[in-house]
């Protein structure tokens, strides 16, 4: 590129002080620097005093807690109403302009057939749609200028609004609203510029074929093969590559072991051990008098209170209602029944109990389990009963586990017994 030709044009500064001596130039430079410094100091003072003022006024405003929440939740103050109103109006404007833009674009798409076809590289033959369609360009330009200026005014005002709100510890509503207006101002200005203050042109160009030509392909293949021919002992190389990849995979797979431990022991557990007392969330043991028939409570084994896997639901029903299978006949002393509280469907806490129907319900996908019948599922997506905990009453009248859960608690898995 011939840069010398364009040197004069691209560096107007040089032209301006072309007639000056070096001393003169140095002097004017010094003058410039001192003005700059002065301006900087004054500007800095102005900014700091404004900031200090804002900070002070902010500190003075000690608002009671009730009022702040009112401020944060409602649209009480007129300023906020105004802003929200403004935001809504802005949104309307965005919608309207979007509609207008899409109309313009539609016309653009379906417009007159374009002129000549150019190379993709060249824009010389592009059709000027403005000319072709006889658009009143000066009018459009006036409108565009007006709209761009409006958008820029909104943008500046909103930016100042955002700063002000931020520095005065403003709330979310005002921050979001002013930021949105600022960004919408920029966006609208750009879109107006592109649609109204730019010459509309349409380009047409041939596409390249989607695949390489046969000769290009053959040349690439030849290049590759020439390289292959140059490699000696190709078979050894292939073996090396193969083994390298296999060992890399083996290393990655072994590293995965660090991520977890073998699952079987942690999953295949019955949680409770025979003899453990049932305790409530506040760790008090549960006695035979704790529940009336028809009520429910949350219990844990005494060594693991509050954990997700051990949570157990204890209900008491009238004994004559029980329909437990034969081998579980003595699992429910005095109508006390204990089931795992972890849903067998997807593991949510089965926390709701419907007294009249004797159903436990899971809030996640509404599976229901019949407590009288060993917590068999009666509705919803769960397929397996909640594991039951056999109980007995000790000499002191405290409820204890007579063994572990009938199955491992929680959602199902491949190796589940």
């Amino acid at each position: 590129m011939n840069e010398e030709d364009k040197g004069g044009r691209s560096a107007p500064n040089d032209r301006e002080d072309a007639g000056k001596t070096p001393e003169e130039r140095a002097k004017s430079e010094a003058r410039g620097v001192s003005w700059l410094l002065l301006g900087g100091v004054i500007g800095w003072r102005a900014i700091t005093s404004v900031v200090n003022f804002l900070r002070r006024s902010n500190k003075r405003k000690v608002v009671p807690a009730a009022e702040t929440t009112r401020e944060a939740s409602g649209l009480e103050s007129p300023a906020e109403k105004l802003l929200v109103g403004g935001a809504e109006a802005g949104w309307k404007a965005v919608q309207l302009s979007a509609r207008a833009i899409s109309k313009v674009m539609e016309e653009h798409t379906r417009g007159k057939p374009p002129g000549e076809i150019s190379d993709l590289f060249d824009r010389e033959n592009d059709t000027n749609l403005d000319e072709e369609e006889g658009v009143n360009v000066p009018r459009r330009e006036r409108r565009g200028t007006f709209l761009v200026i409006c958008a820029m005014v909104v943008m500046f005002a909103a930016a100042i609004g955002f700063m002000f709100t931020y520095w005065t510890g403003g709330n979310n509503l005002l921050l979001g609203g002013s930021l949105a207006l600022f960004l919408a101002g920029i966006g609208c200005a750009m879109v107006f510029w592109g649609q109204l203050l730019t010459v509309r042109r349409q380009a047409v160009a041939p596409r390249e074929p989607s695949s390489s030509s046969p000769s290009e392909r053959a040349a690439a293949t030849r290049a590759f093969e020439a390289g292959v021919q140059d490699v000696r002992r190709r078979r050894l190389l292939r073996w090396m590559g193969g083994f390298g990849a296999a060992f890399a995979a083996a290393i990655v797979v072994s590293l995965m072991k660090s991520l977890g431990f073998p699952p079987s022991a942690a999953l295949d557990t019955r949680v409770w051990i025979r003899g453990q007392r049932l305790v409530s969330l506040d760790k008090t043991p549960v006695s035979v008098n704790s529940l009336q028939p028809g009520s429910m409570m949350l219990v844990f084994p005494e060594n693991a209170v509050g954990s997700e896997k051990t949570q157990t639901v204890l209900v008491r029903v009238r004994e004559e209602l029980l329909r437990l299978p034969q081998e579980r006949k003595d699992w429910a002393p005095q109508g006390y029944l204990a089931y795992s509280r972890v849903c067998t469907h997807a593991g949510c806490a089965v926390g709701m109990y419907e007294t009249t129907t004797h159903l436990l319900m899971c809030p996640c996908h509404q599976s229901t389990f019949d407590v009288l019948d060993g917590a068999q599922p009666t509705g919803g997506p769960a397929a397996r009963a909640l594991p039951q905990l056999p109980l007995y009453v000790d000499g002191a009248g405290v409820l204890r586990a007579a063994g572990g859960f009938s199955e491992p608690p929680g959602p199902g898995f491949w190796g589940m017994p």
Partner: protein
């Protein structure tokens, strides 16, 4: 391009040619091409707001006692992660705004991807030579959904805890490899302290890096292959018609970016989303009725509710009921999505490169199929909130669910039939116009292109 910086760079990198080529790149003008850009720009907003959040978020499940400015939870035991969420929402200046913007941008991101994909599907933009870009796109959708889930999970609130537990149960239900896969992913049975840091690393580093990489590949392919054109004068498989990148497309596209950003800021400021302080900290024994996942996973949730509780064993090994709707169904959905361009080839027997799109009415079968799938997704979304719907309409949940089990098959079939008939009717109405356009364009090609 004669300013000093341009000259400085170009004298070292010889960029003039490629720059000219780029500035002259041709983009078709149609509003539907903005959908992909909306997806792209909402990802940019996600990264920007996410960086701000990462300055304050703590990925730790260490239990702490809350002493902050949200008095309703004063003295409550919670994870450090959840405390940092409250800190961002109540104490960091503009923190709540950015947090809500992040969440809204995520919803818009995924919504825009789906809308974009629908436009690709219903106009046949995935046909040769763009099948690879369809595959990259489906992967992007998958990654976006996964990252939404990870982000949702690291909050440490009750809702995200429930979501994490259900994700755990779904993974656990996979035959043979499920338990190992789950323990490697979650680090043990949930809830474990290891899970949140893992999900956080995936959420802010691994998945966004993959998404960035794939978006790069996606855009490069679009650039290299040039865009498709909607049918119209001079729009043939061998010609591209549109406006140049510089200046009209640049101004329009950047304008779109700022307008989208404005909408996100507006939503973040004015419309509450994911108020974690309402749900409270995660607690394994607490229950939360009416909990729903974010809308973009609602279809899986719906399937989980409608699928009947059938359990069976293979050689003594259990295949739990959750496996079919929770894992098999989404995996099959994505498998079909991945294969769609090739399945379509088998149906249409069209193997030629296609650069002109089809209007939906010009491909009645594909359109009908797409409408049917969309209808099924809508029914499943409804099913995902069926307890809320039943409660609101005083219907019995069990009966309502039975009805949905029928509707989930009937509605798509009916929708597909109606869509097919509408397309055929429309195609007949437009037949002469379309034929004229085709003839005109063949003439243009003959005249302008070297044969």
């Amino acid at each position: 391009m004669s300013g000093f910086p341009a000259r400085f760079v170009d004298s070292r990198l010889r960029l003039a040619r490629i720059t000219r080529r780029a500035l002259n790149h041709i983009f078709p003008d149609h509003w539907s091409f903005m959908l992909g850009e909306v997806a792209l720009y909402s990802f940019v907003i996600l990264v920007e707001t996410g960086i701000f959040l990462a300055m304050f978020y703590k990925d730790s499940t260490v239990q702490v006692i809350y002493r902050g400015s949200y008095h309703a939870l004063d003295g409550v035991k919670m994870s450090a992660a959840y405390r940092s969420m409250l800190h961002i929402s109540f104490d960091v200046p503009a923190g709540l705004l950015i947090r809500q913007m992040h969440h809204w941008a995520c919803d818009i991101f995924i919504g825009a991807i789906i809308a974009h994909q629908a436009r690709i599907f219903f106009t046949g933009a995935y046909r040769k030579p763009r099948e690879l870009n369809w595959i990259v796109g489906v992967t992007l959708l998958l990654l976006a959904l996964a990252n939404g889930y990870f982000g949702y999970s690291v909050g440490g609130d009750l809702l995200s805890g429930a979501g994490m537990r259900i994700g755990y149960a779904i993974m656990l239900s996979v035959p043979v490899i499920g338990p190992w896969l789950t323990f490697i992913t979650f680090g043990g049975t949930v809830p474990v302290t290891a899970t949140i840091p893992r999900f956080y690393a995936l959420h802010i580093f691994v998945v966004p890096a993959l998404i960035s990489l794939l978006i790069g590949a996606h855009l490069w392919m679009i650039w290299w292959q040039l865009h498709t054109n909607y049918p119209g004068p001079k729009r043939t498989d061998k010609l591209i018609v549109g406006s140049r990148l510089w200046p009209s497309y640049t101004l329009k596209s950047l304008g779109l970016f700022f307008l989208l950003f404005a909408v996100v800021a507006m939503l973040g400021g004015l419309v509450q989303i994911d108020p974690v302080w309402v749900y409270g900290p995660y607690n394994p024994v607490a229950i939360l009725p009416g909990a729903q996942p974010d809308w973009y996973l609602g279809w899986v949730e719906g399937a989980m509710r409608l699928f009947p509780g059938v359990n069976f064993r293979i050689g003594g090994y259990l295949v739990p009921e959750l496996f079919w709707p929770g894992f098999f169904f989404p995996v099959m959905t994505f498998a079909v999505l991945y294969c769609w361009p090739f399945i379509e080839k088998l149906i249409s027997l069209d193997f030629r490169p296609r650069n002109v799109l089809r209007w939906p009415y010009q491909q009645p079968f594909t359109t009908a199929l797409g409408c049917a799938v969309a209808a099924m997704m809508v029914v499943l979304e409804f099913a995902g909130g069926d307890d809320v719907v039943a409660l609101a309409s005083h219907a019995r949940l069990a009966a309502f669910r039975e009805l949905l089990r029928v509707l989930v098959f009937v509605v798509p079939v009916l929708t597909g039939i109606v869509a097919y008939l509408v397309c055929v009717w429309w195609r007949r109405r437009r037949a002469s116009d379309d034929a004229a356009l085709r003839a005109g364009n063949e003439a243009v090609e003959e005249l302008t292109l070297p044969q």
